[in-house]
Amino acid sequence: MSLIKLSVSALAIAAVSATAAVARDQVQVTGSSTVLPYSTIVAEAFGENFDFPTPVVEGGGSGAGRAKMCEGVGPNTVDIANSSSRITQKDIDTCASNGVADIMEVRFGYDGIVFASDVNGPEFAFTAADLYNAVAAQVNKGGAIVANDYAQWAEFNPALPAQDILVLSPGTKHGTREVYDARVILAGCKETSAYDLFLAASSGADDRAKASDATKACNTLRADGRNVDIDGDYTETLARLDASKNAIGVFGLSFYQNNTDKLRVATMGGIVPSTESIASGEYPVSRPLFFYVKIAHLDVIPGLQEYVEFFVSDDMAGPDGPLAQYGLVADPELAATQAMVAARTPMGPLN
């Protein structure tokens, strides 16, 4: 049958051309879905302004992206892993055992984490302690640790509206969760002195074990339905907030800025989140954004060095660039990053 001949030859051609075409001519990027929009903005501008093809950018999560980068060296592995949290020693070890010896760590800016409610609802002015009291499993009530039974915001802070508590926290898979745990929940735990009570109650062998016990107790969130972990994207949080109008959602600053007609942002310690207040450090909840580059690919994949340099250039990541307009908080030390990229300095050991 001619159809069989045709498809057999198609298979053969495909197989031959695939092995011939292993030399890839476009940059491949994968990783964090928080970094994804920034990365696509840069990739698009890069494709327009340079004579290289537009890089292919995938999402999928920081951890998955770093794991993919550490699979090995060669054109069928990715060049860059975007990450909204710092690389771990485990990743570095995996990388090294797979032959990915030199990695360049590029910090290109900061991302703010904001708390927002429905635009037609009341205004909220939070402190870390308020959020801790709202979502923790156990709280400090009159000097004793008790299971959290607060039902309304006004019960622990009369300045807050008498509205039922419902917080849409980022799920444990989220890169956002790390900074939420550390900068909001743990901070609130310490503010309300619940941390000290946990520390005193801990049966750990030494101070370190006790501190780790207390941190763990602080970061255990209530499971009675007043705190809901959202594992999906911010769009899911927004949809949930649309369905239950009295909820407080956790968003990235850029996501909030794109949806100011639906969301009302809450202040944190009296500070309104904005690129300026985050850059100055006044607004406490922010985290650095990174991408990791395989140095071995820099001379192999055409356009990779140019893409990385373009990403950290003032035209892109600077305070007036398109990334800042989208919601990125520009890194004040961008010049040092630019020099590091130009010199291709591999990252040192984690401290």
């Binding site: 051309s17 696509t40 537009t54 292919v56 950018v57 999402g59």
Partner: protein
């Protein structure tokens, strides 16, 4: 038992008959309720998709004259492409913004309350790139005045689609009432107009800052490439396997085992085929990531069991008398299969294949692991220039990636992409029905 034979009126129903009839009426009512629930769900789904998505097919564009000033676009003045390429899209953006403002002033259109930054927010960021490409392709254009047509940004466009209203603009920091007033005046002046958005079908994906410029071009090509390859791979393998199993293979424990396994494979979740594809085609065979070839191979594996099952059913439906007659006049077994059974089974095979392809077209999960759920802004090359190996995305992938973006304009794009996908599926299913009606033979 005498009362069983006791005469009863045929006109009046006794208790048991009435109960039986009532049970039947109730059962019919349950059926109608079940159908209404499923139709209601379908109607709600279609209504949300269409009410969100139809606006994706309309788009507001502007056009105004721009003088391609030599001192901005070719500072060295030598009209050499590579020298001119040093002027980036930022330079072109500034030129367009200045020309836009100058044009408003020349036309006497007031824009009080709209500062330079808010004025720049009318022009999609995609326009400077297009103008730059045009100029670099033909440097002789420098110095001329050309009419530039491009998209307005997502929120201005949303205003004409009802997504942005004056109430939302009052709380939205990205748009102001003064900008909406100006938008109304620009429509009156004929500078802006809303029309059918052909570029939704041709443009590649765009970044989060320019939802208005995003389109399904790369996704449609990627899906088409994959469907072509899947059809080429799956048809010969599936048909050969079915013919062998139906006509030649001995009926024993081994063939039974194979049969059970094929049926089981048809029920394996599609993500499993993605994991297999990643391990075999990318990590072992070193095929390029994100390429339609790998996507097609994975989808082939996924659809193969379905096709084999459909093809075997079609072959089995050919009556044995035809086989006996062919063998009786001296045909070999292979002649019997290829001259008689296969042509008669062809409509059934075709229908099964089209339905298999339709289900493959809507599949996202296996593509997630082989790098096709990605931002791809370059069109793949033609099919004979290695396009099967270039990165591409696919229609369902585009739905998924647009649905997770921050800008509200992407919600409309996502639903629009669903409508396009549904249209493709509808066409394929209708084709399957027509072919079956046309060529099917009943014995």
């Amino acid at each position: 038992m005498t009362d069983a034979t006791a005469p009863k009126s045929l006109l009046a129903q006794d208790v048991r008959t009435r109960r039986r009839n009532a049970a039947e009426a109730r059962f019919q009512a349950y059926g109608i309720v079940a159908i209404s629930i499923s139709l209601g769900m379908l109607a709600i789904m279609l209504w949300t998709i269409f009410s969100d998505g139809v606006s994706a097919f309309r788009q507001t564009t502007f056009s105004f004259p721009v003088t391609l000033e030599a001192e901005r676009l070719d500072p060295k003045g030598n009209r050499i492409r590579d020298e001119m390429a040093k002027v980036t899209t930022i330079g072109y953006t500034n030129l367009l913004n200045a020309s836009f403002k100058a044009h408003l002033e020349a036309r006497g259109i007031p824009f009080e309350g709209v500062d330079d930054k808010a004025l720049a927010a009318f022009i999609s960021r995609d326009t400077p790139a297009r103008v730059r490409d045009m100029v670099l392709a033909d440097p002789a254009m420098i110095g001329q005045t050309v009419t530039v047509t491009g998209f307005t940004t997502g929120r201005i466009d949303g205003y004409f689609k009802g997504r942005v209203t004056r109430e939302t603009a009052a709380v939205d920091t990205n748009i102001s009432a003064a900008q909406l007033d100006l938008a109304d005046r620009l429509v009156d002046a004929g500078i802006m107009r809303t029309g059918f958005n052909w570029q939704f079908f041709t443009n590649p994906d765009a970044s989060d800052q320019r939802p208005e410029a995003s389109g399904l071009g790369v996704a449609i090509i990627g899906s088409a490439y994959m469907m072509i390859l899947v059809a080429l791979f799956v048809l010969p393998v599936g048909v050969a396997a079915s013919i062998y199993l139906e006509e030649f293979a001995p009926k024993n424990r081994w063939t039974d085992l194979i049969e059970v396994n094929i049926s089981n494979l048809a029920a394996v979740p599609s993500i499993v085929f993605g994991i297999l594809g990643l391990a075999v085609f990318i990590n072992f065979a070193a095929f390029p990531q994100s390429s339609p070839l790998v996507g097609a191979l994975v989808l082939t594996l996924m659809t193969l069991p379905t096709i084999i099952i459909a093809t075997r059913a079609a072959i089995r439906a050919v009556p044995p008398s035809i086989r006996d007659a062919a063998l009786g006049v001296g045909a070999s077994k292979m002649q019997m299969v290829f001259h008689h059974v296969l042509p008669l089974a062809a409509p059934g095979i075709l229908t099964g294949t089209i339905l298999g392809l339709a289900s493959a077209l809507g599949e996202t999960a296996p593509l997630l692991l082989i790098g096709m759920v990605a931002f791809v802004a370059n069109y793949p090359a033609g099919p004979f220039e290695g396009g099967f190996l270039d990165p591409a995305s696919a229609l369902p992938v585009q739905v998924y990636s647009w649905a997770s973006r921050a800008d509200p304009a992407f919600i409309e794009r996502s639903s629009g992409a669903i409508i396009v996908l549904l249209a493709f599926l509808l066409v394929m299913n209708i084709l399957a029905i027509v072919l079956r009606r046309r060529f099917e033979r009943r014995w």
